[in-house]
């Protein structure tokens, strides 16, 4: 079933054949891309799940510790203590190309490299619970940043895999069969045309011979006018 109307010409046939070759090659490449993306994605998403569970557990502990600190301290003192953080975090963001998907790569920069320099307040007015809370938060931070990188990569790759899969399927189940169908249709049509013109020629030849030699009359035993004498005249 040819879905589209195609011209059964040799030119069209060559064109479609060439297109089919390209489509086949594209299909193979896209399929490879999808498989490789899928492999990397599954690896990454497993890590994503682990990291997320770890971060969520870490944040839970941190939240509990902060709640505890808040309970043992006055709100004003707590707010003042956290007013001017001594630590500052920022990022250098690069991009990594994973099978044509640009995924972000973060590099963490901190203002002070000293890990113990996270307490931005004097120790005399704050409770030790706050120290514990801040420490637990500082501990979970590197994991949180890594989680951000991995989770974003997963999202981007999932979107790309979905796109690629659609393309592969469109080529495999729509474009390529349609083109093969069209090629078949054109070849058959051309063959049919050729046969038909062959037969027409044979018929014409028969008719011309009949006109010249009158075979059917001879077979019927009739008198045949001698055309040779006529021709000589």
């Amino acid at each position: 079933m040819a879905k589209k109307q195609v011209n059964p010409t040799r030119m069209e046939l060559t064109r479609i054949k060439r297109k089919l070759v390209t489509a086949m090659r594209g299909h193979k490449l896209l399929k490879d891309k999808r498989d490789e993306l899928m492999r990397q994605f599954l690896e990454l998403v497993r890590k994503n799940k682990e990291m997320r569970e770890k971060v969520e557990a870490g944040l839970k502990v941190a939240a509990q510790n902060f709640a505890l600190a808040r309970a043992t301290m006055q709100d004003e003192i707590l707010d003042t203590a956290l007013l001017a953080p001594s630590q500052e975090v920022w990022l250098e963001a690069g991009e990594k190309n994973v099978m044509s998907v640009m995924v972000p790569q973060f590099e963490i920069k901190t203002r002070s490299t000293d890990e113990s320099n996270i307490y931005s307040y004097g120790l005399s007015f704050t409770s030790s619970d706050l120290d514990i809370a801040v420490k637990s938060m500082a501990d979970v931070l590197p994991d949180m940043l890594q989680l951000a990188e991995i989770e974003k990569s997963c999202q981007l790759m999932a979107a790309e895999i979905e796109k690629t899969r659609r393309r592969v399927n469109a080529l495999e189940y729509v474009m390529i069969p349609e083109m093969q169908e069209n090629i078949k249709y054109i070849t058959m049509k051309l063959d049919e045309n050729e046969r038909s013109s062959q037969i027409r020629l044979m018929k014409v030849k028969d008719m011309m011979l009949e006109q010249t030699h009158h075979y059917s009359d001879k077979l019927a035993g009739k008198e045949i006018p001698d055309i040779r004498s006529e021709l000589e005249i």
């Binding site: 997320r52 902060f66 709640a67 250098e92 640009m102 901190t110 203002r111 809370a133 940043l145 999932a158």
Partner: protein
């Protein structure tokens, strides 16, 4: 140079100040969406958002899904873990594979 922000209700996020992240308290999805746009324009590469706020802003966040930056990551708030973060990971697996093959056993 990119920065990191945390958005959500104040109680859930004030602790992040201590480690040097910028906090932007917001509970209303409209205000948060406006805030988010400003943040994205101001070179914030990672924006952590409490699950409660994240759930309210699903539509606004969809636009950022396809971009390499910013990464908007849901985190549990003080009200507890709603499982929205893991659900999001599961959704991306479903999107890519067609069915959930990572979390199926849990």
């Amino acid at each position: 140079m990119y920065k990191i922000a945390v958005m959500g209700d104040r109680d859930s996020i004030y602790g992040f100040v201590s480690v040097g992240l910028d906090i932007y308290p917001a509970t209303d999805a409209h205000a948060a969406a406006r805030q988010l746009r400003t943040l994205v324009e101001n070179d914030y590469a990672i924006i952590y958002m409490t699950e409660a706020l994240f759930a309210q802003m699903e539509n606004e966040l969809a636009a950022y899904n396809e971009m390499p930056l910013p990464a908007i990551i849901p985190i549990p708030g003080v009200s507890g873990n709603t499982g929205a973060g893991l659900a999001r990971v599961r959704k991306s697996v479903e999107k890519a594979v067609g069915s959930d093959i990572i979390f199926g056993n849990d």
